[in-house]
């Protein structure tokens, strides 16, 4: 048993047996309870299997085929999105969908059906998966696509690694003129302005996202910075790609209500928050946090929670206003707060999170019961408006909430491999029997 292989939130901390995979032709090992573990970028306990085995997939990191004419890439499940970009971008291709970090495995991107700043155009990651091979504990390998084994495809996309081990996948990439993104950065003073900006921008811009000041209250409530962009041909100095690393875990969270207010004030008023016709390299545009490796240590030894919910457009402004009011009042938030409008492209998975409406994502340093109480009160709002919380970010939602957010869970449960499980799955289905 080793306490290593934490989730990105560094909470909860579980003990696991770790089994590393490196050969996609090998049969599964025989364990009672297993869970695939990619690069550990999901936040809560969907990548944790307390007391059981983790099948670490990073050793399955081979490219299988790439067609530079059609942009179809075939690779093993442990390949990172960053490795794919390094391979295909020089040949004019880019992932159709990328989340806010490029250090995720393809298997993890499928299992969490991740989304990005272009959800309103492209949908989520599963929309661009052509097929994959799923290894089950009975030894069978299922080739799954929209045409073959469709129900297994739908269960495995967003299936949190519970339906078996994804061995390899074929994904469709998109052509790009190069590594540059052109667009604007705009301040907004309220949620109302955000919705207007977003609605106006979604037709002309492939990528839209907003940072929101979760410490702002009163007349500043809902203020933030809106970014929008498109792939553009340009030339310039590529950033050197070197990263800083958070060298240690501080004994206390460095994020508190004082540092948060100060940071957010500076971030909102910095000159770079207002830019017209800016050109960004894709790395700072998509992955600002990837430039500091292990930044998650900043929250100290108790880790942090992330809360990401999606609420239907109807009533979104009222629901988000109430959430922001509660968060600002609590002083428990962090500067990492993101707001985006999802589009209408249907997600492919039974348990996929993206759905039409607005999505809000925030970090919360773990301060124990007060943090949990705040998050539960946010869940009450999400439940009331018929929204959902993202399992990939969750370490605490109740079984009742989960079942309301994901009514397809019962049907999904039929596809869970009898030898696969996770701490998350046991937590949200504990009263199933």
């Amino acid at each position: 048993m080793t306490p290593q292989r934490m989730s990105w939130g560094r909470w909860p901390r579980h003990e696991h047996h770790v089994f590393s995979l490196s050969n996609r032709f090998a049969p599964l090992p025989v364990f009672d309870s297993m869970l695939p573990y990619g690069n550990g970028r999901s936040y809560g306990d969907v990548c944790q299997n307390d007391g059981g085995h983790l099948l670490v997939t990073r050793g399955l990191d081979r490219f299988i085929a790439f067609d530079p004419a059609s942009g179809v890439l075939d690779c093993e499940a442990g390949v990172l999105l960053s490795e794919i970009i390094d391979l295909v971008l020089p040949r004019g291709w880019f992932p159709m969908v990328t989340p806010g970090t490029r250090f995720v495995t393809i298997g993890g991107a499928i299992a969490n059906d991740v989304h990005g700043k272009n959800h309103h155009r492209a949908g989520s990651f599963g929309n661009h998966v052509l097929d994959f091979d799923l290894l089950r504990s009975d030894g069978s390998v299922l080739r799954c696509s929209r045409d073959v084994n469709r129900e297994w495809f739908a269960a495995t996309v967003g299936g949190l690694g519970l339906t078996g081990l994804i061995l390899r996948a074929r994904i469709q990439l998109r052509p790009v003129p190069g590594p540059w993104i052109g667009g604007d950065s705009l301040r907004f003073g309220s949620l109302n302005e955000f919705f207007a900006l977003s609605t106006a921008s979604d037709a002309g811009y492939e990528y839209t996202v907003a940072w929101i000041d979760c410490a702002a209250a009163g007349r500043n409530l809902g203020r933030g910075v809106f970014m929008r962009g498109n792939h553009v041909p340009a030339s310039g100095w590529e950033p050197n790609g070197r990263s800083l690393r958070m060298p240690l875990t501080p004994p206390l969270s460095l994020i508190n209500s004082v540092s948060l207010r100060l940071f957010n004030q500076l971030y909102f008023h910095r000159p770079g928050a207002r830019l017209d016709n800016a050109v960004w390299h894709y790395r700072p545009f998509f992955y600002p946090l990837d430039s500091v490796l292990e930044w998650n240590r900043i929250y100290g030894p108790k880790g942090f929670f992330q809360y990401q919910c999606a609420v239907p457009q109807q009533g979104a402004e009222e629901a988000l206003t109430e959430m922001l009011r509660r968060i600002a009042k609590s002083g428990l938030g962090s500067f990492l707060a993101v707001l985006k409008l999802f589009g209408h492209v249907p997600s492919q998975g039974m348990l996929s999170f993206p759905r039409p409406g607005a999505t809000l994502a925030l970090d919360f340093p773990n301060r124990g019961p007060v943090t949990l109480a705040l998050l539960e009160s946010l869940d009450a709002i999400t439940r009331d408006v018929g929204g959902a919380v993202y399992p990939a970010k969750d370490a605490r939602m109740s079984s009742v909430s989960f079942k309301q957010y994901y009514p397809a869970w019962k049907e999904f449960a039929r596809y869970v491999d009898p030898h696969f499980s996770s701490s998350f799955w046991r937590r949200v289905t504990e009263d199933m029997k």
């Binding site: 080793t2 290593q4 590393s20 490196s22 032709f25 391979l87």
Partner: protein, 245 residues
């Protein structure tokens, strides 16, 4: 462009090192026991930039097949100037103590086959007045310890053999590189508990590729093993015999 033979190409260290050369556009011939795994690695190396990545299935115990293998490699690659010898097994010490047959078999895989292949390569590279022979030895070969002296003595033989070979070929323009990895997190060491001393195959591979390109005689990877082994070698035998290492 280098024309490289990789022996034991499905090992994690060999595969990671092959990627370093693929990135530089070199041509590779991979040798191992599993055709499907070799094919998967070759496909990957081609996509990563290798000018060529072919494979041959051969058990390293089949020492008589080496001359034919080298002829084949020279033909396929259009020449041969670099070899990475990375095959081997991590012998189970207890089995080697209870079975002499196992001990001899392990020695054949980890020492004799390596020395035989080095000899064939040396004679060919000497004749063409250039080449690099890189051999994965181990820090375990620096001093015999009760926990793995069967494996360690085989690696000690490889280290001593390559040291002599290096002297012999120095004036002929051929470089011999002895690589001594410490703890590397690979399938071979999957059952060990990992600590801060453990390195990834990718990190070790970068050091190995650099040493092969520069012709560095002996390289410890990660580098701090040089210090650790200096201390271990320095302990007098009178004291060492009482230790449980």
């Amino acid at each position: 462009m280098r024309r490289i033979l990789v022996m034991g190409a499905t090992s994690a260290i060999a595969e990671a090192t092959a990627r370093e050369f693929a990135r530089r556009g070199d041509a590779l011939l991979l040798v191992g026991r599993s055709a499907e795994r070799l094919r998967a690695i070759a496909d990957d190396l081609k996509l990563r930039g290798a000018a060529m990545a072919e494979f041959r299935v051969l058990d390293a115990r089949d020492i008589d097949a080496y001359p034919g293998l080298l002829d084949d490699a020279t033909r396929v690659l259009g020449g041969l100037d670099t070899a990475l010898i990375a095959h081997g097994t991590l012998s189970d010490e207890v089995s080697c103590q209870t079975s002499v047959a196992t001990l001899l078999d392990e020695f054949r895989i980890n020492a004799l086959s390596v020395m035989a292949l080095c000899t064939h390569l040396a004679n060919r590279f000497e004749a063409q007045n250039r080449g690099v022979i890189a051999v994965i030895s181990s820090v375990a070969g620096d001093r015999g310890r009760q926990s793995n002296y069967a494996y360690g003595s085989a690696k000690a033989a490889v280290s001593a053999f390559t040291s002599g070979l290096r002297q012999r070929l120095y004036t002929k323009g051929v470089r011999v590189v002895t690589i001594k990895p410490g703890f590397v997190d690979t399938p071979m060491t999957a059952s060990f508990k990992k600590s801060f001393l453990w390195a990834s195959p990718a990190a070790v591979a970068k050091t190995i590729a650099r040493a092969m390109i520069r012709g560095t005689p002996v390289v410890y990877t990660p580098w701090f093993w040089c210090l650790i082994m200096a201390i271990i070698r320095f302990i007098p035998e009178r004291v060492f015999q009482r230790l449980r290492l």
